[in-house]
């Protein structure tokens, strides 16, 4: 009884104490290393395609460093034209990256108590992979918020350098599908999903997300499917719980 009470208290205290340590950042960096390897491959591809779309290697590198959001960068290449279509490009980035809204919201409970600089500095480095790994980490009860930015730094380093390399290689690279690189991120996301399975309560929201995402990808333009799938899946989860 006493022990139970004490462990409950300790669990509560641990939940209140969000830390932000170098150790946490290093943990994040280590966990993200495999994703950074696939990120490197995709960054090469992005650099090559950016050159083919008419951007310079330096411009592609600047985009990777400032935007740091792969999906939107690929979409924008499809829109690129000789005088850069400034408004279209900015709008496309906004729409493709709307899923970050949901991701940032999911981080909020775990970032409580962090200084503004740490919290809003960390989210600049929020990518799908380090975010998903960080959420898994928080689910296990570990509360070091520096995990996200530690993983983000590794992803950032690999993404920017590979963009520059790909940009300098230019046309000499060939078709990325020949190397299976188009599947690298899908494999990473699938693996992260396997670790997120919490039991049968996840079945309905995941099916809902899959059905909506597949339908939206087929019938709606652009990347709306990620946001719509994420919204319907998560809402299905809560609604089932409520009833």
């Amino acid at each position: 009884m006493m022990n139970e009470e004490r462990s409950l208290l300790e669990a509560e205290r641990a939940a209140d104490e969000t830390t932000f340590t170098l150790g946490g950042a290093l943990r994040g960096a280590r966990s993200c290393a495999p994703s950074a390897v696939s990120g490197f491959a995709i960054g090469l591809v992005f650099g090559v395609l950016a050159r083919q779309a008419g951007l310079g290697a330096a411009e592609a590198g600047i985009m990777s460093a400032l935007v740091f959001a792969g999906a939107s960068q690929f979409v924008v290449l499809g829109l690129w034209a000789a005088p850069a279509p400034v408004a279209a490009v900015a709008l496309a980035a906004l729409i493709v990256n709307l899923r970050h809204l949901l991701m940032g919201a999911a981080l909020a409970p775990h970032f409580r108590g962090l200084s503004r600089l740490k919290a809003y500095g960390s989210v600049f480095f929020m990518a799908d992979e380090n975010w998903a790994l960080a959420m898994g980490e928080f689910d296990k009860g570990r509360r070091d918020a520096a995990f996200l930015i530690g993983g983000g730094f590794v992803m950032f380093a690999s993404w920017t350098t590979s963009t520059l390399i790909g940009g300098s290689l230019g046309q000499n690279f060939g078709d990325p599908a020949r190397w299976g690189l188009d599947f690298a991120f899908t494999a990473v996301f699938l693996t992260l999903l396997c670790g997120m399975w919490r039991g049968r309560s996840d079945l309905l929201p995941w099916i809902a997300a899959a059905v909506v995402a597949v339908a939206a990808e087929r019938w709606l333009p652009g990347q709306w499917y990620i946001l719509l799938g994420g919204l319907s899946g998560s809402l299905a989860g809560v609604m089932r719980r409520g009833s």
Partner: protein
């Protein structure tokens, strides 16, 4: 190393728009009171987003992508090792595509 000012402007605006999406979810959620229901909703978001990223690739990809995805899931469950399952996926896709090309 020549930078086109209009291109740089487009990139800066992209960067601003993207950072706004990253910061505003955190900003909104840390300002509003979080009920138990909201917290449950937030907890369902990671899985739902990852499913949405993956499902269209696997479903509209065809047999190669489905088989590769199965291989990835098997390795992921067995080893829990991200690098191992990523390499499995990429390797499976390369091998299966080559097989199909030779058979047809």
């Amino acid at each position: 190393m020549d930078l086109d000012p209009r291109t740089v402007l487009a990139i800066m605006l992209m960067a601003l728009a993207t950072y706004a999406t990253r910061a505003s979810g955190l900003w909104l959620a840390s300002r509003l009171p979080i009920s138990e229901r909201t917290e449950a909703w937030l907890g369902y978001i990671p899985g739902a987003i990852l499913v949405s990223l993956v499902a269209p690739v696997v479903v509209s990809g065809g047999p190669v992508e489905v088989l590769a995805a199965l291989a990835v899931v098997m390795v992921a469950i067995k080893t829990g090792n991200l690098l191992a399952s990523m390499l499995t996926g990429v390797g499976a896709v390369v091998i299966l595509r080559a097989l199909i090309e030779n058979l047809s």
